[in-house]
């Protein structure tokens, strides 16, 4: 599964770094590093929805507060 987090200017200001940190920690904690491929991407043109995260092509709008819920539902839920 390919998860892409936008680190463009707008997303960065809205907390990409915190989200990446959380996702990296969650992936390691659940031992699913071999199944989940975390990537960075520059601006995908959806800055209004910052922070933009795509899972296999589907766009999600995240904040650091909703990251854990997103991980459980969209990442664990799809594995």
């Amino acid at each position: 599964m390919k998860v892409t987090i936008c680190i463009g200017s707008a997303c960065h200001l809205k907390g990409s770094r915190e989200i990446i940190k959380q996702l990296q920690a969650l992936v390691a904690e659940h031992g699913i590093g071999d199944k989940v491929d975390l990537n960075g991407a520059f601006c995908t043109g959806n800055c209004v929805k910052a922070v933009c995260v795509t899972v296999d092509g589907t766009l999600f709008s995240l904040t650091p507060e909703t990251t854990k819920e997103f991980f459980e539902k969209e990442i664990l839920g799809r594995l």
Binding site: G8, S9, A10, I20, Q24, G40, G45, N46, V48
Partner: protein, 392 residues
């Protein structure tokens, strides 16, 4: 043969002084580069005024083709007379290097110029002339690629007098140290800063005199092409990228997520974005085959501008500045390239406005690209490097 130079200097103020009594002017004419170092008598405000007048008069007159006699005459007539010592006095050195490799050195009462060629010290002969009662040394010679020339104020040779060293740091010993540092540094600023740093240590961090080291290194032309922002008309993307990539010798830098995406698309080369946040405030860099550096845009450029301004103001250029410059984040990498590995900068700037950046929720105004570009241009020109900007 088209010689290019890398010029930089570093000053230490006399301990407890806010102003420096040494002044450096870096100038460019159509066919030459000029470096002037003046050291005003005394310290603080008085010395600062004397050396500023001297360096500015010399610079302005030289630029307009005045003879040495006219310059010296003007300085003698202009400098205010010190009420304590009843003289008007500032030493100076002028170094002019022409693009055809000819060099012209004028020295008045400063420690002699250190001239390093092929890794060795080359002595500069005495050829004294008396102008307005002043003994002035004049020397014409040839320089070639790889040479380094160092001008100094007498704060260097006085370093440590009566404290760590009985007679200060002798010229011969400074020259030997300079030859050693020449071998381990690449840029003019690192060479100048390393000698200044040694002086500061000999003074035990309390300089007894204003100390300045100005360095000129003869180098190959190094152009940097920097692209930032998408073109206001997407049909111009192709043209913009083509111009940006037009010089195979130039270093290429892309600043901006959308710009990077455009370059990747036009060149049909994949982009790999890293997740490595080496600095929490600066978004990670990315990689495109054949592009030297790919970074985020406005936040990174804003930091670049801060770093370059620190460099131009000079006072804070010390170990910690170089530590900052050597960090692996996008902004430090760009600043380092512009300071150390660039003789001219060409910017390719897109004027498109990202509507999402007009969002008042964002804690930082991202719509300031053009303003940033203007300020970068101004700051880099102050460093003595020509900048061109093309808008799309």
């Amino acid at each position: 043969m088209g010689i290019t130079v890398d010029v930089a200097y570093k000053s230490l103020n006399k301990f407890s002084e806010i102003l420096c009594g040494d002044q450096v002017e870096i100038l460019k004419t159509a066919d030459s580069d000029i470096l002037i170092l003046a050291d005003g008598m005394g310290s603080g405000v008085k010395a600062n005024i004397l050396s500023t007048l001297t360096s500015k008069i010399l610079g302005t007159m030289f630029l307009n083709g005045a003879t040495l006699e006219e310059c010296v005459d003007t300085i003698v007539q202009t400098l205010p007379v010190c009420q304590v010592r009843h003289v008007a006095y500032s030493t100076f050195s002028i170094l002019q290097v022409f693009q055809n490799g000819e060099a012209y050195l004028v020295e008045f009462d400063n420690p002699g110029c250190i001239f390093i060629q092929d890794g060795k010290l080359v002595p500069i002969p005495k050829n004294l002339r008396t102008i307005e009662g002043k003994q002035i040394n004049e020397y014409r010679f040839q320089v070639k690629r790889g040479d380094a020339l160092i001008l100094m104020s007498d704060g260097t040779v006085h370093a440590g007098v009566g404290q760590l060293l009985n007679f200060g740091w002798q010229w011969e010993d400074i020259a030997a140290y300079a030859v050693k540092q020449y071998a381990v540094t690449v840029s003019a600023i690192r060479l100048a800063a390393s000698i200044c740093q040694a002086c500061d240590e000999l003074y035990m961090m309390r300089p007894g005199d204003d100390t300045t080291v100005a360095c000129m290194r003869i180098i190959d032309k190094k152009s940097v092409h920097l692209m930032t922002g998408p073109a206001s008309n997407p049909e111009d993307d192709q043209k913009m990228v083509a111009n940006f990539m037009s010089d195979a010798e130039a270093k290429t830098v892309v600043c901006g997520g959308t710009s990077a995406t455009i370059v990747s698309r036009v060149l049909n080369r994949p982009m790999d974005v890293s997740l490595d946040y080496s600095d929490p405030e600066i978004p990670p860099i990315a990689y495109i085959n054949g592009i030297d550096l790919v970074t985020e845009g406005v936040l990174t450029l804003n930091r670049v501008l801060q770093l370059l301004r620190r460099f131009v103001q000079n006072e804070t250029v010390a170990e910690d500045f170089f530590e900052e410059l050597d960090k692996p984040n996008g902004a430090s990498m760009i600043a380092r390239m512009i300071i150390e590995d660039c003789t001219e900068l060409h910017m390719y700037v897109g004027k498109a406005i990202n509507s999402a950046y007009q969002n008042p929720d964002l804690p930082f105004d991202l719509g300031i690209r053009q303003n940033l570009v203007d300020q970068l241009k101004k700051t880099i020109e102050e460093m003595g490097k020509p900048v061109t900007v093309t808008y799309y």
